[in-house]
């Protein structure tokens, strides 16, 4: 049922490869929130059942993408705005959603979990405060993991460093395989930290350390000169780390805190209120127990719906309907694969599991698109289908969460993702085993 003409597909492919050659400056040097302008030519998708990601559904939709962003989004009336003679991609019978957004992952920082030589996710140091650690500077856009996720509908991801109490800076990427300079859509969107028994063997010690660092960071700009003259008391972290915390203290970036136990989540809420932080909770196994407080504080919670086991005494209350209960209480819920980088593609299955356990379908879609974009503060550019936003979109063969459905077409920054991965190449090499026996004879 692919109706995309071959010539157009080829044009899109060349557009994609062209992007890597002379795109934006390196991620590390860019500071704006603007997405990388892609040079993908115009694409027109018509007829699909469009789910914008914010809960809105448009039947018989019209979508135009050009230069990496959505230029037209509407119903049948928008057909009039299509240029005469434009080549249209027929999306009738298809469901169209925003590209899925993978929260809290190390995609591009880890190739093989158990091989340390393929890891760039954590800064190896004894010091628990690594706020300036900007792991995304070492992202590998050529990772074989990126296409494996992209062909199944993951188009954006929040790349978080790991380790320590404050691990470092979180970057938002679009899954443009091979584009080393253009992969990062938004550097330093958030700072990643961890609550629970992370530091010095106790929760109280962890909390005290977080408070001390945040207090030092708050006063650091006014004491910088004294510090440089060595007229300051010792600080709890390196000046670069204290500087890196300024955006979260000014509310310009998000602090993500991983916490599972209900009591930890309450402590995190108190900390956020004290320092006026924009907080996102990651993990949240027992978040349902404090759903009302989370809703009141409007703090997003990133959960993995299938995680229903009491794997530790921090998650004794883990349950399958966590996401549903949080949503019902009014908490902005985000669904994610937490831990492991190779199968972010199963995010759609996790959404299905959430729905099977009581979460409304449309809310689950938001929780894997606009929800994560909001949780990381990039909702102005990412997460839903709207004019001016980054053109990340998936055309599905059926219900996106169903195991039987496939991503028929995936667009990242307006360019069609080729349905080729290391895995499809392996599959095709070993599809017919007779050839190996023939070779041997």
């Amino acid at each position: 049922m692919r109706t995309l003409p071959v010539t157009l597909a080829l044009a899109l492919l060349s557009g994609l490869s062209g992007m890597s050659a002379e795109a934006a400056p390196p991620a590390a040097r860019r500071t704006t929130a603007a997405p990388t302008p892609a040079r993908a030519g115009p694409v027109y998708l018509v007829g699909g059942e469009l789910h914008l990601g914010d809960g809105t559904i448009i039947k018989d939709s019209v979508i135009a993408m050009d230069r990496g962003v959505f230029t037209i989004v509407g119903g049948p009336e928008a057909r009039a705005r299509l240029p005469a003679g434009a080549t249209l991609v027929d999306a009738r019978t298809r469901i169209i959603t925003p590209g899925l957004f993978a929260a809290d992952t190390q995609l591009g920082l880890i190739e093989i979990d158990q091989e340390a030589s393929t890891h760039d996710d954590g800064k190896a140091t004894e010091h628990p405060i690594r706020a300036a650690h900007d792991a995304a500077q070492g992202l590998n856009a050529a990772s074989s993991l990126i296409p494996v996720q992209a062909v199944e509908g993951i188009t954006s991801a929040a790349i978080a460093p790991t380790g320590g109490l404050i691990s470092g800076q979180v970057a938002i990427i679009d899954l443009v395989h091979g584009d080393h300079r253009g992969l990062v859509a938004r550097p330093r969107a958030a700072t990643a930290a961890h609550y629970g028994q992370t530091h010095a063997g106790s929760r109280a010690a962890t909390l005290a350390m977080l408070r001390e660092v945040l207090a030092d960071a708050r006063s650091f700009p006014s004491r910088r000169a004294a510090f440089d003259r060595a007229q300051s008391r010792p600080l709890s972290a390196h000046p670069l780390d204290l500087e890196a915390l300024q955006p979260i203290l000014r509310g310009q970036a998000v602090l993500t805190l991983s916490a599972d136990r209900a009591s930890d989540i309450l402590s995190a809420l108190d900390l956020a209120a004290e320092f006026k932080l924009r907080l996102t909770i990651i993990g949240g196994a027992e978040a349902w127990k404090v759903a009302d407080e989370l809703a009141r504080a409007k703090v997003p919670v990133i959960v993995q719906p299938s995680q229903n086991l009491p794997v530790s005494f921090d998650s004794m209350g883990a349950r399958l309907d966590n996401a549903a209960l949080l949503h019902r209480a009014g908490v902005p819920v985000v669904l994610a694969i937490l831990g492991g980088v190779h199968n972010l593609r199963n995010l759609k299955q996790e959404a299905g599991i959430a729905v099977a356990n009581g979460m409304p379908w449309e809310a689950a879609l938001t929780a894997v698109t606009l929800g994560p974009a909001r949780a990381y503060g990039v909702e102005r550019t990412h997460g839903s289908i709207a004019v001016g936003k980054v053109a990340n979109l998936v055309v599905w063969s059926g219900d996106p969460f169903e195991l039987s459905s496939a991503a028929v077409q995936v667009y990242v920054r307006g360019a069609l993702v080729p349905q080729v991965t290391r895995q499809t190449l392996l599959r095709d090499r070993y599809r017919d085993l007779k050839q190996f026996n023939q070779k041997r004879n």
């Binding site: 158990q114 086991l309 199968n343 099977a356």
Partner: protein
């Protein structure tokens, strides 16, 4: 001197078991260790009239190739008494109307560590790897199985009725597995053990033994791994020989001992004046042969050589699996199933020829170097090549939705143009694992005479939205979603409602 006598008693019990399955003496000791009851004897069929339950009006997926759009299934006692359209209602039978829901065999997992790595993951709960020596073939997972692991309840709620509990993969020979049923209320492994199921032997290739022992005693390379495998089977063959010799000597000695004493010489007859005459003294009975020292590890391997213990071999790469098939052929045993086998699709033809199944994940890959080439079409390509594919979990989360894992593997196959039927995919998690565990005669399909291990699904078992609503194990209803959700001791007092809600009287 009591100890050897006890050992011999144990041995003779083991030998008694052997005679049922195998040929005549001489018989070496066999893996049926003294403490492990042969479960066939305990197959619980309560006395008195057998309870009958008719499950009516379901889509019945039998995992035999046949699917009924609407049919009934009659349970009698622990067994399936009939499957068919419009079955008559026997007098006194309980009737459960399934209203078009889907009935499948209970799900079977060939690879689980529930009970040996119980949740929460406490230091005190870590019982899955006896990582003290690369060969611990004599230990048994059953000895560590903790029936109060709360993960068992979640697996049952996912429709799992039978699972093999394996030791971990740190060792070249991890030890013996135990196949258990997920019945609630088990107070020890003996209560949970699948009656009559053979034991398995966990073996491991590749990175794990290397990693665990590389800085200790070794092996530190794949060379060392295979040398360890080869050496162990060589010693097992020799052990088997020494026992065979012992049994031969013993039977000759016994025959001599029990032979009637020779008649006294007739004084009237003239004795030949040969040498024996001059040496003739009162007979000193020949000494009773001494049995070889018993070695439970080698006994396990002898059980493998005799085909009584089934080999479950953790192995990822195609080249390593090929080598293990060659090693097995050299020593004359079969590998029942390769586990994880992320590259099984590369040697699907060899697996089919060897009659070795592959227990694989739907889509795990990349977590270690030997898993880098995992693909979602693995199970489909195996099935297409005529090999026996199994979807296993090796995960306390994955075991809760093996139906979904099978679905992902099936649809990946179909999207790639490999035509896998629903029934074939169902067999990946029912009939095929039953075969790998040696219990296919008893469970794994919906057929008359088999154990009534069943799942009632809310809808299509390959949909993400479908849940298990009822689970039967050996005819007993053990789970009803929202109504009968048994919990282990562990969770008492931690579950949110129990401390506040009044306890329902039993």
């Amino acid at each position: 001197m009591r100890r050897p006598a006890l050992l011999l008693l144990g041995l003779s019990a083991a030998l008694a078991c052997d005679k049922r399955g195998q040929g005549p003496a001489p018989t070496p000791p066999v893996a049926t260790a003294p403490a492990a009851p042969t479960a066939t004897e305990r197959d619980p069929e309560p006395p008195g009239p057998r309870r009958q339950t008719l499950l009516r009006g379901a889509i019945v997926m039998t995992a035999t190739g046949k699917t009924y759009a609407r049919a009934d299934l009659l349970i009698e006692g622990s067994k399936i008494a009939a499957v068919g359209v419009d079955l008559p209602v026997p007098a006194g039978a309980t009737v459960i109307d399934l209203g078009g829901k889907t009935l499948t065999p209970g799900i079977i997992d060939t690879h689980s560590h529930l009970g040996v790595y119980a949740a929460p993951g406490l230091v005190g709960h870590s019982d899955g790897n006896e990582a003290t020596a690369p060969n611990t073939a004599g230990i048994r997972a059953g000895d560590a199985y903790f029936p109060q692991d709360p993960q068992i309840d979640r697996a049952r709620a996912g429709g799992v009725t039978t699972m093999q509990i394996l030791p971990g993969s740190a060792n070249l020979f991890g030890g013996r597995s135990v196949t258990v049923r997920l019945i609630p209320g088990a107070r020890s492994v003996t209560d949970a053990r699948f009656p009559g199921a053979p034991e398995g032997l966990k073996m491991a290739c590749g990175e794990n033994p290397k990693r665990v022992y590389g800085s200790k005693s070794g092996p530190s390379t794949r060379m060392g791994n295979v040398a360890g495998h080869r050496d162990a089977f060589q010693r097992a063959s020799e052990y088997q020989r020494s026992w065979a010799k012992y049994h031969k000597d013993l039977s000759e000695w016994t025959a001599k001992k029990n032979a009637p004493p020779p008649p006294p010489p007739d004084p009237k007859l003239k004795q030949p004046a040969d040498q024996s005459d001059t040496n003739d003294k009162p007979d000193k009975p020949p000494e009773e042969p001494t049995p070889p020292a018993r070695d439970f590890g080698l006994e396990t391997l002898v059980g493998v050589l005799r085909g009584e213990i089934l080999v479950h071999n953790h192995c990822y790469r195609a080249d390593e699996m090929s080598l293990m098939l060659e090693l097995a052929a050299t020593y004359g045993f079969k590998i029942r199933s390769f586990h994880h086998a992320t590259e099984a699709y590369k040697i699907a033809d060899r697996l089919a020829a060897a009659g070795t199944s592959a227990s694989v994940w739907a889509d795990w890959w990349g977590f270690k170097a030997e898993a880098l080439d995992g693909i979602r079409e693995n199970a489909a390509l195996l099935t297409q090549a005529g090999a026996r594919a199994i979807i296993h979990s090796d995960s306390a989360h994955g075991i809760q939705r093996l139906n979904q894992e099978a679905a992902k593997a099936m649809f990946a196959g179909r999207h790639a143009g490999i035509d896998i039927t629903d029934d074939q995919a169902l067999r990946w998690i029912t009939a095929n694992p039953a075969w790998a565990l040696g219990v296919a005669e008893r469970t794994g399909t919906l057929e008359t005479g088999k154990l009534a291990d069943l799942v009632v699904w809310s809808g299509d078992p390959f949909s993400v939205y479908t849940v298990a609503e009822q689970v039967f194990i050996a005819g007993e209803l053990v789970y009803v979603r929202g109504k009968l959700e048994p919990h282990t001791d562990f969770e008492l007092g931690y579950l949110p409602d129990e401390l506040t809600a009044p306890q329902a009287p039993k």
